[in-house]
């Protein structure tokens, strides 16, 4: 009994500092995100129409940052997975768990906005193009991770299992990406507009970067809020277990 109590206090020491920082940082990040997104969208909607695509390319200002974030959040989760397994940092698995649904949401936004963008550009909602298909696989990996979180009862055991899955996925994502690209060139699909190439006009690039920064701040705020929820959920869990034990 004293052993579990000692462990609990030790685990909470660091999270307490996190909670103090989060109380200030969440509103700050949310405000920064709102300002940057408003400015970025304003700039983005005052760019000249594009030669081939008219105005529909403005979907880019949500689509591309979502794609970047979906990939970036996965990298963050892989780092957190290392933190769980190797360094045993008490916040790493909390961050890992909180990030997964947010990453899945950005992957979903990327997929759906891509499909909507595809309708006027390619003539179909879904084109089995390399990028969109890789993002679909990434979305599935996110859903698998969330499903594995929910399958375990005990949070620490779940954290380690999910960490292994995340790392296996992190090794696999480049392989999936490479093979999907290989597959899509093999089947001679229509080439897609290039958003990252040198063909992009600087007039579109700067609002895009502002929007990406705005979405990143939104992610930071959401992540910290979700981490705070997760810490509270675990505290509720331990307190309930203690109460049940005392009742006996």
């Amino acid at each position: 009994m004293p052993k579990t109590r000692g462990m609990k206090i030790g685990d909470l020491a660091n999270p307490n500092r996190f909670l103090r920082i989060a109380r200030v940082a969440i509103p700050l990040c949310a405000a920064a995100s709102a300002v940057l997104l408003a400015y970025g969208f304003y700039r983005g909607f005052h760019t000249p129409a594009e030669r081939d695509q008219g105005t529909v390319f403005r979907i880019m200002f949500v689509h591309v940052p979502s794609a970047w974030l979906a990939l970036g959040i996965y990298s963050l989760m892989a780092t957190a997975a290392l933190g769980t397994l190797v360094w045993r940092h008490p916040l790493a698995d909390v961050a890992q768990k909180a990030a997964a649904p947010i990453g899945a949401a950005f992957a979903l936004v990327c997929l759906v906005t891509g499909a909507i963008w595809g309708r006027p550009t390619w003539g179909t909602y879904w084109e089995w193009d390399g990028r969109l298909t890789s993002m679909l696989v990434l979305f599935l990996i996110y859903l698998g991770i969330i499903a594995l979180w929910r399958a375990f009862e005990e949070p620490l055991q779940a954290a380690k299992a999910v960490a292994i899955l995340t790392l296996v996925g992190f090794i696999n994502v480049p392989i999936v990406k490479y093979s999907v690209d290989w597959w899509s060139t093999l089947h001679q699909r229509a080439s897609v507009f290039r958003l990252d190439g040198p063909t992009m006009h600087p007039a579109y690039l700067s609002p895009l970067l502002v929007c990406a920064l705005g979405f990143s701040f939104l992610f930071a705020a959401l992540l910290m809020a979700a981490m705070r929820n997760e810490l509270m959920r675990r505290r509720v869990r331990t307190l309930t277990l203690f109460a049940a034990r005392e009742a006996h």
């Binding site: 599935l140 399958a151 597959w183």
Partner: protein, 223 residues
């Protein structure tokens, strides 16, 4: 060490071929998939023979994922997994032996059955040989990737669908290069780029599968 390895291999094979072991169900499921597709598409023999290899690959993939929950599930239930964890053998080697036994019991029958089922889809002669060869390389890769999912879910009950959902994204490259290598072999260049990449995926999965599975089993048992 080799003796212990073969002992595990033999034991798992004996268990899966015994009544209730479920080695044959994968092939029956494979047949069911092959049977369902023509009903959905229509009895157009020309179209079916064109997409035949693709149907057989998808069927083999699904059938390989189907039995994975039994890979560790039965051992976790009756406690023999705890004994295996205490064995002097490295856990990676144990996982390797179990995955190999699983493939021999459930994957190899699919490879043997594929040319027969292929006849029903108009995949004949050289094409069916090509298909069997590529499945022979591809299905163990799927089994060893599946090993990871099986180990992650070892302590969970009713994990069959969960394992399939976790593993499907990782098997996409195997499917891509496996079907591409089959196509290439049918058109006359059997051991080109696609085959080499498929073989590389097999080697990769032979390494990452047991390593990740052993790590998952250790945490599953709280050590």
């Amino acid at each position: 060490m080799m003796r212990a390895f073969f002992a595990i291999l033999r034991r798992d094979l004996a268990l899966s071929f015994r009544a209730g072991g479920g080695a044959g169900i994968g092939v029956i499921f494979f047949l069911a998939v092959v049977m369902v597709v023509p009903f959905a598409i229509g009895p157009d023999q020309k179209l079916l023979s064109q997409i035949g290899p693709a149907i057989l690959w998808s069927g083999a993939l699904l059938a390989s994922l189907l039995g994975l929950d039994r890979l560790f599930g039965a051992d976790a239930e009756d406690g023999s997994l705890d004994l295996l964890l205490l064995a002097p053998l490295p856990l990676e080697v144990i996982a390797f032996a179990k995955a190999l036994a699983h493939w021999l019991a459930t994957g190899l029958p699919l490879v043997i059955a594929a040319p027969l089922f292929g006849l029903m889809l108009g995949v004949e002669g050289k094409a069916s040989l090509a298909l069997a060869t590529m499945l022979f390389v591809g299905t163990p890769a799927i089994a060893f990737l599946g090993l990871i999912g099986a180990a992650l879910a070892a302590s969970l009950s009713r994990a069959g669908l969960l394992i399939a959902v976790l593993i499907v994204p990782f098997t996409i490259p195997v499917l891509i290069f496996g079907t591409a290598a089959t196509e290439a072999a049918i058109s006359g260049t059997p051991f080109g780029t696609a085959f080499k990449l498929l073989a590389a995926l097999l080697l990769f999965s032979l390494v990452i599968g047991p390593v990740a599975a052993a790590a998952a089993l250790r945490i599953g048992r709280g050590t």
